[in-house]
């Protein structure tokens, strides 16, 4: 990650610098996903009908549910920062626990969502898909790639949260030194931010 505690405590600690580093990293992520959105825009522009039909294949309920819980998890992370700032370790841990739990639920949902599609024979390169039109292939190609890469980010987020929780438990993160938590929070909000766009683009088009 962007910072290293050892170095900062010995030589010079620069929370602002660490945060700037995190923001820069977020910018790279924004552009990475940005390009996927660009591809999406191009293909949707060229295959409007197929994308609409594709969108109808996806389950709005699961999508909405995932959106709601992801938003909640963003709020709990933000609140955990408040808790740490106020020196309330227990509350912070609890809030992070909720976040972690939601992250896992999100992935479980994804698993079932993907599982159902794959069972149905809808996955990149599958015969059922190849028989459909080009637009549909592209829609599902993008759907798998974009939600897949997003899911990988959730996994990384889970790893980070586990690390942060341990740091809080061992008092490495506390009310005057919580940049790791803040940066992890920023990262998690980014994951949320991307989902905010993925959701309408894939689930809500008609």
């Amino acid at each position: 990650m962007e910072k290293n505690t050892e170095h900062t405590t010995h030589v010079h600690r620069d929370d602002e610098g660490d945060k700037l580093g995190m923001w820069l990293f977020i910018f790279t992520e924004l552009l990475l996903f940005g390009m996927l959105f660009l591809i999406y825009a191009v293909y949707r522009f060229r295959n409007p009908v197929a994308f609409q039909l594709g969108g109808e294949e996806l389950d709005v309920f699961i999508g909405t549910f995932n959106t709601v819980i992801l938003l909640i998890s963003s709020a709990t992370v933000a609140m955990s920062i408040t808790a740490i700032q106020r020196g309330n370790k227990k509350q912070a841990l609890m809030l992070l626990g909720v976040t972690l739990f939601i992250a896992v639920v999100f992935l479980v949902n994804k698993y079932f969502e993907w599982g159902a599609k794959i069972e149905y024979g809808f996955y990149p390169g599958s015969e059922a898909l190849m028989e459909l039109g080009h637009g549909t292939i592209l829609f599902f190609g993008l759907y798998y790639v974009m939600s897949g890469i997003h899911a990988i980010h959730i996994l990384i987020g889970i790893g980070l949260f586990i690390y942060v929780v341990r740091q809080i438990q061992t008092e490495k993160i506390h009310s005057t030194d919580y940049i790791w938590l803040e940066n992890t929070g920023l990262y998690w909000h980014l994951v949320d931010l991307i989902w905010i766009f993925l959701f309408p683009l894939f689930y809500l088009i008609h």
Binding site: R13, L31, G34, V42, V68, L71, M79, F199
Partner: protein, 94 residues
């Protein structure tokens, strides 16, 4: 440097923000059943954009942090939109 003052957001404010986000989600889902033709996507993107802005300003603290982050963020988004715009110079006129 690390002694700078930090803004501490209250739980209430977080709840309010979350409420707004959930509300917008609900609106976004609800509007899809209205048939608005080509404005569909526009509306959906406007709502998503608002949500994103809310997350950036409050959850990601852009409002309270050093201004430079907000400036950079806006610049990056503008850069992306320009790239998107220029790409469509090709696709819109092919």
């Amino acid at each position: 440097m690390s002694e700078e003052k930090h803004h501490i957001s209250s739980y209430t404010s977080h709840f309010l923000v979350l409420g707004a986000l959930l509300l917008l989600t609900a609106v976004s889902v609800a509007v899809t059943s209205l048939e608005m033709g080509k404005y569909d996507t526009l509306v959906a993107m406007l709502i998503a954009g608002t949500k994103a802005a809310i997350v950036l300003t409050w959850f990601m603290h852009l409002r309270f942090d050093n201004k430079i982050y907000a400036i950079f963020t806006v610049a990056v988004i503008v850069l992306f939109l320009l790239v998107l715009y220029i790409t469509f110079f090709d696709y819109s006129y092919r």
